[in-house]
Amino acid sequence: MTSLAHQQTAPSRAVGIETLGMTKVFGSLTALDDVSIRVAPGSFHALLGENGAGKSTLVKCVMGFYQPTRGTLLVNGNEETVASPRAAHSLGIGMVYQHFTLVPSLTAAENLVISRADAPQVIDWQKERQALSDFLQTTPFRVPLDVPVSSLSAGEKQKLEILKQLYLDQRFLILDEPTSVLTPDEADEVLGLVQDMTKAGDLTVLMITHKFREVTSYADEVTVLRQGKMIGGGKVGEISVADMSTMMIGETQIRERAARSQTSKKTLKLELAGLFAENNEEAPAIEAISLKVHKGEILGIAGVSGNGQSELIEVLSGQRIPSDGRIFVDKKPYEPTRQHMDQFKVFGFSEEPLRNAAVPRMSVAENMAFRTFDKSPISPFKGWLSPPPMRERARELISAYRVKTPTPDEPIENLSGGNVQRAILARELSGTVDILIVANPCFGLDFASVAEIRAQIMDQRNKGAAVLLVSEDLDEILELSDTVAVMSEGRITYSSPIAETDRATVGHAMAGQHA
């Protein structure tokens, strides 16, 4: 079998790879430009870079999803051409994708058995289960085998993804942002176990990430990519975080972090009183959520995704009917209807705006008019639309918010992610904002857009808006919030002014430990 072949060529079980002058050209775009990296057997190598820096292109060339335009790949010192992911697997190279590739309705055991190329026609579960528990003994990971994967936690799913690769005897693992859906504690556990296996020489890891903390705590070596080129790298510990950050971002002008102005008087603006709601399975999703947001305050709600945040946002934006509880604005009852939103000046935006806040095939101008199309001057009298003022207004917003679009009539789906979000920002933030409800606003955006959007949120706070920020990005919460709350299993389990808490405390609360 494959593992025997590897044992002959390498002293340990782990597989090492090396790329030489790897280049990939798509039409006029050079996605990957002459990248040479060496990942020694048994090492833990981090690949750093922004979105679009070429990290995915590089690993897809290694995995055989793409054929490199130029360059060679060495596996354990031998030159190899990887024609397909299957070919990569037979060389012992496996990948754990950012999104889970487990089948939700199958159990962990079923997922593992079906992943094998030689899965038997009729499965003898007694025998397979014995083999699986024997296999589990050889790894440090512990996962329940007999419940459907859909009921496992994110951390367990990620462990199972890694287990699946080990089960298939892949001894070179590519991990694509493996901790993006995990709590800090889960992330530490998973990466710690993986690190132990690399130290024992059982495994080699190439991890795509943009979290410096994970690089410094777990990786041995690091390579930084920017715009398809290899910018630098070396042993972790010999490069400072500041250097890595400069290598990643380059000379891009980043908008200064908006200063937090002091607000003296606390005026209550938005109050959620005992909100309950159910999820799509009719199980309780949020329970007894009571929160107060004051004028000029950012209340940040941290939490791992799937703990009720999206249901809370849906209730606040009128997409989900709460089963109990009330919302008050200025101590008056508030219903998330178009009329009330307009009256109380409630605005908001969220991640993946093309899905959540825009109609992809309508034009930029139309999308920007969603809040104003039924008012003068766009609607001169009831029920009528007048396109010229709408386009005129869109032009003003496009230049004020620097949205890159050929014309206001371009379908908004043709814009890049950062520009779509800026267009939505222009729509939501250009008027007076009293209450702002924001969910994961920077998800999947590049550094420059992230800095700009965070600055805009801070601007609104400084102008006196009450901001409710829900984010899975703990750093974002810690950077922006005046008050931090943690949501876990549908409840607010922790709340504290930002000055009186720290990363570790919030992280523990996210994991459901009520400290």
């Binding site: 992911p85 299957r86 994708y97 999104h99 590739t101 487990l102 089948v103 939700p104 309705s105 199958l106 079923e110 058995v113 079906i114 992943s115 190329a117 899965a119 038997p120 026609q121 009729v122 499965i123 579960w125 159910e278 999820n279 799509n280 399975e281 009719e282 009917i321």
Partner: protein, 307 residues
């Protein structure tokens, strides 16, 4: 006639009726369950059912062998299934729209070829007499059971087992639940769905042949009256579980047998209302088992109705 014997007669008639009427429901719902487990919905099974009824009857008339008719009906059904499976793999094609087109195509084709077979009488499927132990004529009549029913029961158990314990079963469930996961495993999604839809069509065709060759037992254009569509509701009600499909089919069968059973003891008031029982049941089941507040439990994740 006393009340007790009257009730007994109704219950026996409903039992016998449930078994008779449920058989096509059972086959069509098992077929639809297989198709939906692969991640596609085939609304065309109504057309497949009607065409199966016509072709089975025609073949039985020409060859004199009803069992050969059943086989041909199955093969004709699998051709319809394969066509649906092939069309749906083309880009930007919606399985529900294709299904409706296939439903109209199947019934239209069956009516076109079937005109000649409305009058003549074809040999019908034999029944197994399992009631020999009883002296009661009602019981003996109720236990005249068609082998296809037993075959369907066996098939439900087999499918239930195979979905858990065979490689094909796991591949089918994987394909229906998560296309990205199936792709990552190197599964040819379109092939799996084509085969599942073809097999589903085969079963629906057999279900159709039961209608024309056993009960009611002749070919007419109003034969199916929407049973292929009700099977879709039935699969949702049965939560994509073959064993539940069996119980749900039996329930629908009993509802369908209600009108004739009441008529057999002389209650003909509201006959048409009781005949509408399966449709009312479908409506009630859809109202009870779905809700705007939740998604369907147990539904294959790739189904276009759950996405």
């Amino acid at each position: 006639m006393g009340d007790d014997t009257g009730l007994m007669t109704v219950l026996l008639a409903m039992f016998a009726g449930a078994i008779r009427v449920s058989t096509p429901f059972l086959f069509v719902s098992l077929g639809e369950m297989l198709t939906e487990k692969s991640g596609r919905i085939n609304l065309g099974l109504e057309g497949t059912l009607v065409f199966g009824a016509m072709s089975g009857y025609a073949i039985s008339y020409h060859t004199g062998s009803p069992w050969f008719g059943v086989l041909v009906a199955g093969v004709a059904g699998s051709l319809f299934g394969a066509l649906h499976g092939y069309l749906c793999k083309l880009p930007k094609v919606n399985d529900i729209a294709i299904g409706i087109a296939m439903m109209l195509f199947g019934t239209g084709l069956a009516f076109f070829f079937g005109k000649a077979y409305i009058q003549p009488s074809a040999p019908r499927l034999p029944a197994l007499s399992l009631g020999g132990w009883s002296d009661h004529p009602g019981i003996r009549q109720a236990l005249e059971i068609n082998p296809l029913f037993l075959l369907g029961v066996g098939l439900a158990v087999l499918l239930w087992w195979a979905l858990k314990n065979t490689r094909y079963g796991l591949v089918l469930r994987t394909t229906g639940d998560s296309a990205p996961a199936a792709l990552a495993l190197g599964i040819n999604i379109n092939l799996v769905r084509l085969l599942a839809t073809t097999a589903g069509g085969f079963l629906a065709g057999i279900g159709g042949s039961f209608l024309s060759l056993y009960y009611p037992g002749s070919w007419t254009e109003g034969l199916s009256s929407g049973q292929g569509l009700m099977a879709v509701a039935l699969v949702i009600f049965a939560r994509w579980n073959p064993i539940y499909c069996f119980w749900a089919a039996l329930l629908f069968g009993a509802a369908g047998a209600l009108g004739p059973a009441l008529q057999s003891i002389g209650i003909s008031r509201g006959y048409h209302f009781f005949n509408a029982a399966p449709y009312i049941l479908t409506l009630l089941i859809m109202i009870v088992s779905t809700s705007p507040k939740r998604s369907l439990k147990g539904a294959p994740g790739e189904l276009s109705i759950t996405k």
